[in-house]
């Protein structure tokens, strides 16, 4: 039942990732097509997320599909106490694909078990958000020409940031060296460090966001350090500005370096970085459109001309 769904990035093989990246590149060249003509795509947002929803809906619209759905569950029968199962079965009767975001972890997996209609997980709580990972991968692939032989530096909140965990898992298929830059309280969790050790993935850990770390990177993946993550607010005050990036810090960085961020950013990337050609976070968000077009075609089994 669940074989056509994309619920977790961990269910996608290396070959499938490469195939999706090729399809995304094709859509970047040809974003407007009629290949979803006659298809109905449901976007069910049990938790609001404007950015992700607009990106998915644009992806569908540019491919000529129609959209049904909701962006606020307060206006649906979920608020009357309908179970997720019933909602999914009902919508599955109408739509060709269900794109869903839910505040509960594992919701997309469960949805994929109760309907034959393919599910695309657009985020389930703090658990998985595979389309974010696909657009991160596509951004790296596009700017570096490959996913192999790269040094990827992850900075900021490595403990709670699900995007960095998913990206790490996806990049584990490739030959990538990692640098983890974080304070002790937001260090990369042990399960992921053990995963790297077991799979022979090279990584180094750094408390300091130093020139040496920046200058050896091909990708700087920045994340936001959030106040509410800290048990000790003194510690937050001490570290909050240690992992901010300013333009001057990029003076001796590699020419191919690109700076990524899942957005929204607050002050971890200074405004003065925006005009540096190495700043890539806005294009990265745009790449989400092509990555999502590729994912929708994949679950529908549509092969595009490449």
């Amino acid at each position: 039942m669940e074989k056509n769904s994309i619920v977790s990035i961990n269910d996608i093989s290396k070959e499938e990732i490469l195939e999706l990246l090729k399809t995304a590149a094709y859509f970047e060249e040809h974003p407007n097509q009629k290949i979803l003509d006659g298809k109905v795509i449901a976007t069910l947002f049990f938790e609001p997320s404007t950015r992700t929803r607009l990106s998915f809906e644009t992806a569908v619209n540019r491919l000529g599909g129609r959209i049904i759905g909701f962006s606020d569950p307060a206006a649906t029968s979920t608020s009357k106490g309908e179970t997720l199962k019933d909602t999914i079965i009902m919508v599955g009767n109408y739509a060709d694909v269900i794109i869903m975001r839910h505040y509960l972890e594992g919701a997309a997996k469960y949805a994929s078990e109760v309907t034959d209609t393919p599910i695309i997980n657009a985020g389930d709580g703090a658990h998985q958000h595979p389309s974010q990972t696909m657009l991160d991968l596509y951004s790296i692939y596009k700017t570096q020409g490959s996913l192999d032989n790269l040094t990827v530096t992850m900075v900021g909140d490595l403990k709670y940031g699900r995007t960095v965990h998913s990206l790490l898992m996806a990049l584990s298929h490739f030959n990538v060296k990692f640098q983890f830059v974080a304070c002790d309280e937001l260090r990369m969790p042990e399960e992921f460090r053990t995963f790297c050790d077991r799979n022979g993935i090279q990584y180094t850990e750094h408390r300091e966001f130093s020139a040496e770390v920046i200058n050896s990177s091909d990708i700087l993946y920045m994340t936001r350090v959030q106040r509410e993550r800290f048990t000790d607010l003194m510690e937050y005050e001490r570290v909050k500005d240690l992992y901010n990036l300013h333009n001057a810090m990029l003076a001796d960085s590699k020419p191919n370096l690109r700076i990524l961020h899942p957005l929204p950013r607050v002050n971890e990337i200074d405004q003065d970085v925006d005009d540096n050609p190495k700043a890539y976070y806005f294009q990265q968000a745009k790449n989400g459109l092509y990555a999502r077009q590729a994912m929708i075609c994949k679950v529908l089994g549509i092969k595009v001309n490449q």
Binding site: T83, L84, K85, H102, Y103, L104, E105, G106, A107, K109, Y110, D124, G125, A126, H127
Partner: protein, 153 residues
């Protein structure tokens, strides 16, 4: 070794099941899981008995009752060391170690309050990822739980 005593205890049953080598602290949970309080057969429960393997063990003897595999599997989560002796006509006809299935369905509550299984009327499902330390991983939210942290439904 208390081999003689044990044999005597087992032999005292004509037909039925003897579940041995249950850790003492898991004994009454095992009694619960097997639905023993609802049986009308004669039941003997021993607690805090000496065991060279576990230090202190519990034992359950139930006359004229044989448990289905999926019922027995229930106690594997809390008592992975338990041994099931099937007695017929005073003879031990089979002696089997309980075995954790590769998947545990509808028995354990996920400890993650934001897991879908805690919020929908549905069955929980866990993959057993480490048999030795009894570590389970929720098939939905992927949270892991082991040992004393495992909560039964």
């Amino acid at each position: 070794m208390s081999t003689d005593k044990k044999e005597l205890a087992v032999a005292a049953l004509r037909n039925g099941t003897v579940i041995d080598h249950i850790p003492s602290k898991a004994l009454f949970k095992a009694v619960d899981l097997l639905g023993i309080s609802r049986l009308d057969k004669s039941v003997t429960i021993g607690c805090n008995l000496q065991s060279s393997r576990l230090g202190s063990k519990g034992i359950i003897k139930v006359a004229d009752t044989f448990f289905a595999q999926e019922v027995i599997n229930r106690i594997a989560i809390i008592a992975p060391s338990a041994v099931i002796n099937t007695i017929k006509d005073f003879e031990v006809v089979s002696k089997e170690q309980v075995e954790l299935p590769s998947e545990v369905v509808d028995l354990v509550v996920c400890n993650n309050p934001k897991c879908i299984t805690r919020n929908e009327p549905m069955r929980s499902r866990f993959e057993v990822i480490d048999r030795e330390n009894v570590t389970l991983k929720c098939c939905y939210c992927e949270h892991e739980v082991n040992g004393d942290m495992i909560n039964l439904k």
